[in-house]
Symmetry: C2
Subunit: 309 residues, 2 copies
């Protein structure tokens, strides 16, 4: 038997990273690859809702990989977002919907990226091309991932392909995206049991450009003020993170999933970049309202990365 | 009408880069994109044979692209191998069969890579998936590219998918790969009209790793000794290139397409890397015989890049 290939999403996994690694592992098995899904961190409450709904187990947690370990990456490619030990591992394939950066191999590989709202939408199309049946469980995994990444189709990252996949998956699963999806998203907004340090790390992604280290962390909420009321303790946790990880800029994004707006808090030596990127001033709480902004990938990271030069 | 997207292969274009950009442009048009093929340099004699056979015109030559120009890249991704001005252009899609390195975008894109022998094999499969008819002209372009990149299926880069595509394309075009392909490959081995400087640049690819600049240049021949008889003038041209372009290592690969061996000449401050990579000594002419080695991508670049650390 060929050596086992691990299928992994990004650090601080979100619903897409967790669901897509399971969905991808099955597709790889279909093509004769001995594949196993794994996760790089705890699942969040939104993803927990999905697994409780399906009554299935979450993928195994791994912290690092050994030299020569074969990997399939889903939902990410940048090194800073990936597993420890990746430099000495062998990346066989990548399925992703993000920009490509800080990614290098010495040999050719499979790489499939599409500018869709969600990795699972790409996988949904690959299942169809492969003639691989999508059952209720895998359909729900895909549907959950797409609803999560597109904020129930409200995010500007949502494409026609995502909408089409959602509607087809509603038929397969018998679920209504509006009802099931809103419950799932709401489950993810419950931050009450998390410490501030946990809150700022729930969905944090690291970016590197021109030697600058940027972390953009995002939480969903139905009430921005409710999260912002924890501002002081959150700032304290962010300042500690900045100092511990030598971060140049930390942006904490509080996204209102009902009204599709975001409030950000920006800290670090390079916080002026935020003012330049969004052409606006940070207020006395180092915060700024971004109307209509909900997507880190499409609305926050690109203007920021563009002003670093 | 949407702004025109240029479809380009790599610098010092080979038959795959030229044929695939034409083939890709038609596929893009099929998906509603206003696409135009272009080339980054003169076509070589092998490619010339293909265009004479088909009696069609070669793509337009471009030297650089303007800011904001939309691009589709075929057969390459590394910056050093791509068009001038790419940093400020917008890469919409990449179709490639090489390792990924020195490639970065700020936004998501289409990226399709497979570890096949040839870009045109990937495109052949995409035409079939899209239900797009392959006529004799486009079939010949694809067939020529695959024969070129796989050295008539003799290269270790050749996969089952390449072989399958060749056989299907033989039916479509009515050509016999063995006959047509050997004539085409032989046409490419005629170096008699080229100056030494032209010979070493016909199919030269630049690689960067850890700040080291490496050029690997390859020519095909039916007689290694014949090319090697020009050693002195070739070395002179290589030394000039090393000095002009601040190259750390220049490897000139003379590949015998009949017996599938290669002789290399290695020059530059880092020529010891070659001895380390191939575990053998360079002789008094700075040359080394590599038995069974014909593929830069699979047999020369990876061991070299691996010893740079």
């Amino acid at each position: 038997m060929e050596s086992q290939v691990l299928v992994i999403g990004h650090k601080n996994p979100d619903t897409d990273s967790i669901c897509s690694c399971i969905v991808m592992a099955k597709l790889a098995e279909h093509y004769g690859v001995n594949a196993k899904p794994a996760r790089l961190g705890n699942i969040n409450k939104e993803t927990e809702y999905v697994f409780k709904h399906l009554n299935i187990e979450e993928p195994e947690l791994i912290e690092k990989v050994d030299e020569g370990q074969k990997l399939i990456l889903v939902d990410h490619n940048e090194k800073a977002q990936s597993v420890e030990g990746r430099d000495k591992a062998k990346i066989m394939a990548v399925i992703d919907h993000h920009r490509i950066a800080d990614f290098e191999t010495t040999e050719p590989l499979y790489y499939l990226a599409k500018p869709y709202g969600c990795t699972s939408t790409i996988l949904f199309e690959e299942y169809k091309k492969a003639g691989l049946e999508i059952d209720k469980v895998y359909g729900t995994l895909m549907l959950s991932a797409i609803i999560s990444d597109t904020l129930l189709m409200k995010s500007p990252t949502c494409t026609e392909n995502d909408v089409k996949a959602i509607h087809e998956l509603e038929k397969i699963t018998g679920l209504k995206a509006d009802e099931y999806g809103l419950e799932m998203l709401k489950a993810g907004t419950d931050l009450s049991t998390y410490s501030s340090q946990e809150v700022i790390n729930l969905d944090a992604k690291e970016f590197e450009k021109n030697g600058k280290k940027i972390i953009i962390s995002q939480v969903n909420t139905a009430d921005i003020d409710d999260v912002f009321s924890r501002r002081e303790e959150l700032e304290f946790a962010i300042e500690k993170e900045i100092s511990d990880k030598k971060v140049d800029l930390f942006i904490f994004v509080i996204t209102d999933i009902i009204n599709t707006n975001s409030k950000i808090i920006a800290l670090g030596n390079e916080k002026a970049l935020v003012e330049k990127a969004f052409n606006n001033k940070l207020d006395e709480f180092d915060s700024m309202m971004l109307n209509g902004v909900v997507s880190r990938k499409k609305q926050i990271a690109p203007p920021l990365l563009d002003v670093i030069d």
